[in-house]
């Protein structure tokens, strides 16, 4: 029953969006689909370069903090767009799309790629976005391997 009512609920959710939220939703949807396609065909290094993402130098200057409303709108748009796409969207694709959406909103952010050892002793990777020193979720267990910021060409 839930799978049958889900498209209806999603449509109602879409109808309830404001005009700017809808625009951001379509923007996120386009970039999620594009990034999925790219990551399936190109190496991570090539995708990062094409997205104008450059490694953060050490010590890195602090990023200006964006308004909480801007962050919420960007994350909601990416989450809703990811749900609208078929199949699972990886954290890396979501994080890359979120970087794009935040760049569009003039909120510079940082893409982090980290690793942790799972209970089965296997190494698991995760990607997330940090803005103003904060991420959506606290990621204490992940050792951060790489941090990227959008170059000025994205802004």
């Amino acid at each position: 029953v839930r799978s049958l009512t889900m498209p209806v609920r999603r449509w109602q959710q879409y109808r309830a969006m404001r005009r700017d939220e809808r625009r951001l939703f379509w923007y996120a949807l386009f970039h999620l689909a594009r990034l999925r396609w790219r990551l399936a065909r190109l190496s991570l290094a090539d995708v990062l370069a094409a997205e104008c993402l450059i490694p953060v130098p050490e010590p890195a200057p602090a990023l200006p903090t964006a308004a909480p409303e801007t962050l919420r709108r960007a994350r909601t748009a990416v989450t809703r767009a990811a749900r609208a796409l078929p199949f699972r969207t990886s954290c890396l694709v979501r994080a890359l799309a979120e970087m794009r959406v935040l760049a569009r909103e003039k909120a510079p952010a940082e893409l982090c790629i980290g690793f942790q050892r799972g209970p089965d002793r296997r190494v698991a990777g995760h990607a997330w976005v940090v803005q103003g020193g904060r991420s959506k979720l606290v990621q204490p267990a992940y050792g951060v391997a790489a941090r990227y910021r959008a170059s000025r060409f994205l802004f």
Binding site: S43, A45, A145
Partner: protein
Amino acid sequence: LRYRRRNDVHFAELPDGGLALLDAKRSVFHGCNAVGKRIWELLAQPRTRDEIVAQLKREYAVDPARCEQEAGDFFDQLLNQELVEPCDP
């Protein structure tokens, strides 16, 4: 021949003392234990395979033959995955 780690390979320490290596060029990551992490640290400077094995023998109380075998295998894996590169002496 001396080798050193590739500059564009990112790495992160794991909470259990191991290390995760991210090769963005090949879109893969690898995990290793504390000894692998030590080998990776040693490869920050150009070193030969024998120098690395000798250093590990000094640092760890382990059977020399076993150390040579396992460190050599790990080094071969690093070479096969192109995580290290030869450099001029």
